[in-house]
Symmetry: C2
Subunit: 246 residues, 2 copies
């Protein structure tokens, strides 16, 4: 009968929160989740400084999170694909420490924290899953610091593309052909470089035959994965995370 989405029938649930929950437990979680209307491209999911009341799971689409510097320009802290959680960093804070904006039409599941908190007292698995997710985010941040403080422009772009590729692959999409939902300026901002440099590295990769020269700038096709992987000069922990052998 029902066409509505539930955790139990959601194709993302092996990647999202309910991982390893029993059906009855999953129903409990399902009961506290709010599913609103789709967020259109450019719309805010929440704004830095607003009272923190919910975390969000991305169901479809992409979200960028960013903080604002004193001068008012933004620092993108992450891109969030389907099945990923947004807003975990607000734990401990009365307000959201970052803003979240949809990069394309996006559907999210809203999870009120007070309810989540209460429920995680009852379900040890859920509690562990939450801590696991935060732990993973901490480790991703550390890799990002490594990237920002040690890597060259080419290494940054290569790492970025490999990271996206691995995430698409885990979701059952192609790990070699995908569409970037973010603008060059977003990539530049996220990776701590100028737009022009991002652009130049992309064309260089195309000339070197690492990427295919695609019709649109946002369509990516990785031709030489080996070369791209070498370019990235990944740390061991990064390989592990991306599922790259050696």
């Amino acid at each position: 009968m029902s066409l509505t989405t539930h955790c139990s029938n959601c194709s993302l649930h092996p990647l999202c929160l309910p991982l390893s929950l029993k059906t009855s437990e999953m129903d409990k979680l399902d009961a506290i989740i709010r599913r609103g209307r789709p967020i259109k491209k450019g719309e805010l999911l929440f704004a830095q400084g607003e009272p923190f009341d919910s975390v969000f799971a991305v169901r479809t689409g992409t979200v960028k999170t960013y903080t604002l510097t004193q001068e008012g320009d933004e620092q993108i802290t992450g891109f969030h694909l389907a099945s990923e959680l947004v807003g975990l960093d607000a734990y401990d804070s009365p307000v959201y420490p970052a803003s979240a904006r949809a990069l394309e039409t996006t559907n999210v599941c809203e999870i009120p924290v007070d309810r989540l908190d209460a429920l995680s007292g009852q379900l040890p698995e859920l509690r562990r899953q939450l801590l696991r997710l935060m732990g993973r985010e901490l480790r991703e941040d550390q890799q990002m610091m490594l990237l920002l403080s040690k890597k060259s422009a080419e290494e940054r772009i290569a790492s970025f593309l490999l990271n996206l590729a691995a995430r698409f692959r885990r979701r059952g999409y192609s790990g070699t052909q995908f569409r970037l939902t973010m603008a060059r300026s977003d990539i530049a901002n996220y990776l701590g470089m100028a737009v022009e440099t991002v652009s130049r590295v992309f064309t260089r990769f195309q000339r070197q035959g690492i990427l295919a020269d695609s019709s649109s700038a946002r369509d990516i096709e990785i031709v030489d994965l080996t070369a791209l992987t070498q370019m990235a000069s990944l740390a061991d922990c990064e390989r592990l995370e991306l599922g790259i052998s050696a």
Copy 2:
């Protein structure tokens, strides 16, 4: 009778985990904590890749955590002062994703995660405190990303000093005079710059009368806090965290 340390008599407990636990609850936490011999300067607390079994609370001293790049050089991800937790980022991972090394003689409380996990099921306050601490760490990482991708050499050093100052102040020490326990090379590594640049910025700050020309390179005295704060060009969220008005 007893001279041993317990959470209930530890001067750090308002800053550490047991925050807002009742005495009986604190005793439960106290029971699972292991207090080993002091770690000497240069010794490892744990090494990247070792099985993750415990988080550590610094009781006295300083610890640096760092990951290794492919080429084998280190990327410092944080400095941890008394009352701060080390190893939270290992949640979700079977092994420590980073190494931890003492920068001076250091005493720690070791908290086995399986026990902590079980206990946090019983104590909602402890559970929230854990999530809060991880949330805070996530936000600190975000500020670090901002620093690494947007700030100039001077802004980095100024931010770093103000951050340390605020943490010392919260512990009841002077926020204007303190001793750096880390080498210039550690600061450089952490802030993503060359040792030489760190050195130059320090001398520039001394010439400008922002810092006092101290006997030893590691003794810091902030003379002009206002100027240093301006130099840092902090984001609003950073001010909030450091307790700086406007």
